[in-house]
Amino acid sequence: MEKHCTDSRVKGVSTGTTILAAVFDGGVVIGSDSRASVGEEYVSSKTINKVIQVHDRIFCCIAGSLADAQAITKAAKFHLSFHSVQMESPPQVIAAASVLKDLCYKNREELQAGFITAGWDKKNGPQVYVVALGGMLINQLVTIAGSGSTYIYGYIDAKYKPNMTKEECLQFATNALALAMGRDNVSGGVAHLVVVTEKGVEHVVVPGDKLPKFHDE
């Protein structure tokens, strides 16, 4: 493994990645690619899962060091589960995001992981929160993160509309992931998409060869 690590800032396996989440009319769409890399040149996994369920209607996308992200989401799952037992009701999306933010902020010197938390709760409906590297927490309607996100800021700004339908939002998310994976070498594999609504959770996996193709592909 040592020979694969050049001078990457993340030690060990990194999820150089593209992750996104967007609110539509009645729910959220959360998506990610599936590539994990070591250094800048070795793909250690083509099928890593970056959309992690932390509660029944709350999901988390991970970016940064895979080890740190997995450890943090494990701790977050435990805290949320405990919180929901104490409150005797499902946690709010902001609770999940705050748990992650606390872990990231208190240990910001040692950790290298960022998250997008998205889900549905009874009080505020569908929400998307981003927890950045140092522990900043922001609520947004649509958000992108990871190394591949730099290539799709323009697309997101131009194409996102509030109150889209579920199908429109799924297409928007798939296109965004496809564009990012097309340009970022550390994003790739399949596109994992999860749709969370009041009724439930739906997983959509788009294999690499079924992703939409754009000009010059």
């Binding site: 493994m1 040592e2 020979k3 030690k11 060990g12 396996v13 994990a36 250690s44 996994s45 099928t47 890593i48 060091s65 895979l66 080890a67 740190d68 997995q70 450890a71 494990k74 040692e110």
Partner: protein, 238 residues
């Protein structure tokens, strides 16, 4: 972190096949030609280790002890995912200082599983995998030959070929190939599965019988010891 090793694992129809080479290197010297890299974790779970030999050995030993205690306390057979979680917690706590790249494979009540745990504590669930310095050579064979739901013999042959590729193309891997097949019925730990065809046959026996070396002179020096202090402790057996 030394990774002179090729280890591989494949999930097949009835279980999991793990394979490893048997060379342990210390710098440029082969320290052990018949080293065991497939470690016992529990009756239904085995673990291949690449990386620093001491780290993989101790980590898997610790895991095995903890899982045995857990089994006794809870009355349940351990699951592969539990072993993976324990390993992940342990390795993450040490932030990569423990140089252990592990492939955990086993069969439990939820099915046949293969997991990889990295030294920083990252976990990935996979149908096939190779690790160690010979991983890229072995991975080529696995990528080409793997199909879901293989039968036992093709699965063993695939793992053997993968380790063979690692041995042929990597200086840090070599000697024999060990295979461990885990199914619901039990474990078949075949050591060695294939012997190296480059094994040298010794020309004569190098064991000398007692008396083979002639004694030229003999000098006996009795050691005089003085009793300095004597204490008596009665043992209570009532």
């Amino acid at each position: 972190m030394k990774t002179g090793t090729t280890i591989a694992g494949v999930v097949f129809k009835d279980g999991v096949v793990l394979g490893a080479d048997t060379r342990a290197t210390s710098g440029e010297v082969v320290a052990d030609k018949m080293c065991a890299k497939i470690h016992y974790i529990s009756p239904n779970i085995y673990c291949c280790g690449a990386g620093t030999a001491a780290d993989t050995e101790k980590t898997t030993d610790l895991l095995s002890s903890n899982l045995t205690i857990y089994s006794l306390n809870s009355g349940r057979n351990p699951r592969v995912v539990m072993a993976t979680n324990i390993l992940q917690d342990m390795l993450y706590r040490y932030h990569g200082q423990i140089g252990a790249n592990l492939i955990l494979g086993g069969v439990d009540c939820t099915g046949n599983h293969l997991y990889t745990v990295g030294p920083y504590g990252s976990v990935n669930k996979v149908p096939y995998l190779s690790m160690g310095s010979g991983d890229l050579a072995a991975l080529g064979i696995l990528e080409d030959g793997f199909k879901p739901d293989l039968e036992l013999e093709p699965a063993k042959e695939l793992v053997r070929a993968a380790i063979q590729a690692g041995i042929m193309n990597d200086l840090g891997s070599g000697n024999n190939i060990d295979i461990c097949v885990i199914t619901k019925q039990g474990v078949d730990y075949i050591r060695p599965y294939r012997e190296s065809q480059y094994k040298d046959k010794r020309k004569t026996k190098y064991k000398y019988p007692p008396g083979a070396t002639p004694i030229l002179t003999e000098k006996v020096v009795p050691l005089k010891l003085e009793i300095v202090q004597e204490t008596v402790q009665k043992m209570e057996t009532a």
